[in-house]
Symmetry: C2
Subunit: 190 residues, 2 copies
DNA sequence: AGCTTTAGATCGAATTTCGAACTATCCTTG
DNA sequence: CAAGGATAGTTCGAAATTCGATCTAAAGCT
């Protein structure tokens, strides 16, 4: 019988060191001295996937409340990827790891909905300059203020702040590692 | 379109100076020594989104090499969500935060492709019992061995191991927080 | 037996993904 | 300068995915 609490393991808040017995594919949920580490890279990957899915649900609700239901969560995120800058589509793609045609697709909707302005670069007329419109900036501010609520839920003291910093730093490192791996992997193919 | 609640206009007229510790594309993606929350929740969210996208690219290549090109990355991840257990579809959904119809959709393909076995529960014949087939377990083993390579790239010493642990623990905490927020948020609506 | 729930599958519309063209503009180099 | 090639982005169409609305079967009441 499956007890649904399998997922819970609510020890999350109370568990001393290992909070991760919950999801375990392989044979042994326990750490194996000979093996890699107690937390496998793969577990982190799966966690990221779940978090991503989960956040989409959450964010969609918030967007509804805010009244920005003309954009998908991913599109709003794209606004933040643009940020205060004035950049080319290529830059946007590099920043967000978008696929070219997807970036175009989403950008088009952002422009149509008035959140983003686009103009041709004077230098190179192939290249587009994109930037947030006033409307886009306003939406970002709104989202940011909603997000502060989550920030407070997640960072309740100094320890948690430090943990968040470590987390962010580590994820950035992993991002970099993967990007390198992808590049060299593709190089091998090419 | 949007009718904005009162706080849209008046709130936040002043730009919070912290604004955007946006990371930069090419040369040096680096964080700023910001103020209070040098790392904002939102930045983490964006990082998770990027990582997710990035990993999909990477994983797809690996799957191709492994020869499991009959599954999408997400479907393979679902295998790991099932893991060594024998569970119901409901459990799977709870574990992975899937939408019911999506879980069905992916599960169907996993069953058709022979990675997952399904049978009716004897207790409750509405309920299905889901478990990996031998083929499914074999694929998981393969993926796991590929993943060890990434693990070694990411965890190169004790410090990095500890950081990974903090990261994992923190992400799990955030996952829990979001889940709560989502639940209570929907409660408010209902 | 009737009514309500629950487990899951399925259908269909809308959205998104993704690669293969395609357009337009640069940049070389002969 | 002209021809060929590289770049920046867009567009197109097919395939995959998402997501809510049913729909079926099997429980669980009372």
């Amino acid at each position: 019988m499956e007890h649904k609490s399998a997922n819970e393991m609510d020890a999350l808040t109370a568990m001393p060191t290992n909070g991760h017995q919950a999801y375990f594919p392989g044979p042994a949920p326990r750490e194996e001295p000979g093996e890699t580490g107690s937390v496998a890279h793969l577990e982190l990957v799966r966690c990221i996937e779940r978090l991503h899915r989960r956040y989409l649900d959450l964010f969609r609700v918030d967007l509804m409340r805010i009244g920005a239901d003309d954009l998908s969560p991913a599109q709003v995120m794209m606004l933040f990827t643009i940020g205060p800058d004035d950049l080319s589509v290529r830059d946007l793609i590099d920043r967000g790891y978008y696929l070219g045609s997807n970036a175009s697709y989403n950008l088009k909707r952002l422009v149509e909905a008035g959140y983003v302005e686009r103009s041709a670069s004077p230098r190179d007329r192939r290249s587009a300059r994109i930037r947030l419109s006033e409307k886009g900036r306003r939406l970002c501010e709104l989202v940011r203020s909603v997000d502060e609520g989550y920030h407070r839920l997640v960072v309740r003291d100094d320890t948690e702040l430090r943990e968040l910093e470590v987390t962010f730093r580590t994820l950035r490192r992993i991002e970099h590692t993967w990007t390198d791996a992808l590049r060299s992997g593709e190089a091998r193919i090419a």
